[in-house]
């Protein structure tokens, strides 16, 4: 074997463990559930192998699934919007602040390290019947009885915003930080007000970061089932809850496969659209 062929084979030897792991534990399983979604789970609990459209018919036509899918997308959209409105100015402040940038950034990264389930349940301490807000309200005599503020769609969105906001701030920050500040100065010296300079120079240049943050918030938000279980009421199930129900509770795995693929198709379409117009590089910048 020549030196050249050995040299050419080396990277593939290094890559093969990771690539086979991804193939065996992700791509083949995805292909498998695509096939599985056409099987039938019989009343006895056995799978009937074949090509049945029943699961897909149920998943696509039953208004129950459609309504929850639309509701899930609505919740994800509101969450993303709130994250953008809350996160953009904060990211702008960090990017343009002098001195304490490093500490602000470190603080921003901290929530990534704090357990998701802890951050979600922490709202029970704040908004629960015996939480901080009710303690203040009853203590000051504003209300006589504690109010139940939890377990509705608003608290689900609140929990999601709390979980996803750092993703938004970080992505917007990365893109704002890369903009040459002299551009704004130039706009100012050419007669633009600070606000005009921001709207016409900085904001458009930071849109890729905003889009990356938005995509992450939307996809992660739409795929969650823990937040609605902890902070939502019985009627606040999101689409991933239906998947969990079908797989874990009802043990209807072929139906669960069809529902999973539906979720993947909807969110995957968004990722592909993003990739088509903005490319994955921006997203990787924010993640790495």
């Amino acid at each position: 074997m020549s030196v050249e062929t050995r040299e050419a084979r080396q990277p593939w030897i290094l890559l093969s463990p990771a690539l086979s792991a991804v193939a065996l534990l992700l791509f083949v399983p995805l292909a498998f559930i695509a096939v599985y979604s056409f099987w039938l789970r019989t009343a006895t609990g056995a799978d009937q192998v074949g090509f049945y459209l029943d699961n897909w018919a149920e998943a696509l036509i039953d208004p129950f699934y459609r309504d929850i899918l639309l509701n899930t997308l609505k919740i994800a959209a509101i969450t993303t919007l709130v994250c953008a409105v809350m996160g953009y100015p904060a990211a702008y402040f960090i990017a343009r602040s002098k001195g304490n940038k490093a500490i602000l950034l470190l603080l921003l990264m901290l929530p990534f390290w704090i357990s998701y389930i802890i951050r979600t349940m922490s709202w029970i301490n704040i908004l629960g019947v015996s939480g901080a807000v009710n303690w203040v309200l009853t203590g000051t005599g504003i209300v006589d009885e504690p109010i139940q503020m939890l377990y509705n769609q608003t608290t689900v969105i609140l929990g999601l915003v709390h979980f996803l906001l750092p993703f938004m701030v970080l992505n917007v920050f990365v893109s704002l930080d890369g903009i040459d500040t002299t551009l704004e100065d130039a706009a100012n010296s050419l007669g633009a007000t600070r606000w005009q300079a921001f709207l016409q120079v900085t904001l458009p240049l930071s849109l890729p970061g905003l889009a990356a943050g938005g995509l992450l918030c939307f996809v992660l938000g739409a795929g969650t089932y823990i937040t609605p279980l902890v902070l939502g009421g019985p009627r606040d199930a999101m689409f991933a809850n239906l998947v969990f129900e079908a797989i874990i509770t009802q043990l209807n795995w072929p139906l669960g496969s069809a529902l999973s693929l539906m979720l993947l198709a909807v969110l995957g379409a968004l990722v592909l659209l993003y990739n088509r117009y903005l490319g994955m590089a921006q997203l990787m910048k924010g993640l790495g």
């Binding site: 996160g87 357990s115 389930i117």
Partner: protein, 261 residues
């Protein structure tokens, strides 16, 4: 004026992110019977009860073993792949990169379902092995992203110098490349451990009955009522998952300055 407004807004955003967590820590020291306000006094009793709760200790052991194994496997796979992508001109490197980070582009629920049903089809039941496989596959992309970002900054000519001075490729790797890569490797491992330790979405699908990790244990406890023990457990989790990376960061910095100076 506008700048002051932005500053105030940022302050509020930070408060929003940290206040609820601070309340968890505060309430974990509450002497009261109940996991809620008012604070009746300062006490460590919930931490003592935590240390005597077998279910929680078991969950901790499971989470730590799972996290360590995940980190070991995921970092090994990730470092090898990153080396290939950074050090060699691989045809189709972009496609390969996308394939390798695909596990975080697919919603975790979908990944969880696919892996569970496929391995079940192969007669691998819900088990620790399934849990480990799942954790490895979704931490791998993060390891690759982190390690790749740091590998780029290691200069190739240092290795070439070693080679030209007569070191064998093996010697060069173990005595030059690996020590230089160590911060990247540790960062990747730490990242994998923390993500694994924190995961609940996939874990609830994969874990066998009776086995709990710390997050699923908290989740199970939440179903009853919010007890002060949960707040104490939360505080321990925060100390672990925030303290470890900060320690790692400090360590990396210390290593870097020692080498530099």
């Amino acid at each position: 004026m506008g700048w002051q407004l932005v500053r105030l807004w940022t302050l509020l955003v930070y408060a929003f992110m940290f206040l609820p967590v601070a309340v968890v820590v505060l309430l974990s020291f509450n002497a009261s019977q109940f996991g809620s306000f008012p604070m009746t006094g300062f006490s460590f009793r919930w931490f003592v009860e935590l240390a005597q709760n077998d279910a929680i200790l078991r969950a901790f052991r499971t989470s730590i073993i799972l996290g360590l194994l995940t980190a070991a496997i995921s970092t090994t796979l990730g470092v090898l792949a990153s080396l290939a992508l950074v050090r060699y001109r691989v045809p189709g490197a972009n496609v390969i990169s996308t394939l390798l980070i695909a596990p975080i582009l697919v919603p975790e629920v979908v990944l969880a379902v696919a892996l569970l049903l496929f391995l079940n089809f192969l007669n691998v039941n819900k088990s620790f092995a399934l849990l480990l496989a799942g954790h490895v596959i979704f931490t791998l992309p993060f390891v690759i992203l982190v390690v790749q970002a740091r590998l780029v900054s290691i200069r190739r000519d240092i290795e070439e110098a070693a080679l030209s001075l007569g070191a064998s490729p093996r010697q060069t790797f173990f005595e030059v490349t690996l020590p230089l890569m160590l911060p990247a490797v540790l960062a990747g491992a730490l990242f994998a451990f923390t993500i694994s330790f924190d995961d609940i979405t996939g874990t609830l699908f994969w874990k066998p009955g009776g086995v709990e990790t710390v997050p699923t244990q908290i989740f199970a406890m939440l179903r009853n009522s919010i007890s002060p023990e949960i707040n104490a457990l939360g505080t321990v989790m925060i100390l672990l998952t925030v303290g470890l990376p900060l320690l790692g960061l400090a360590l990396a910095r210390a290593l870097a300055t020692r080498r530099g100076g």
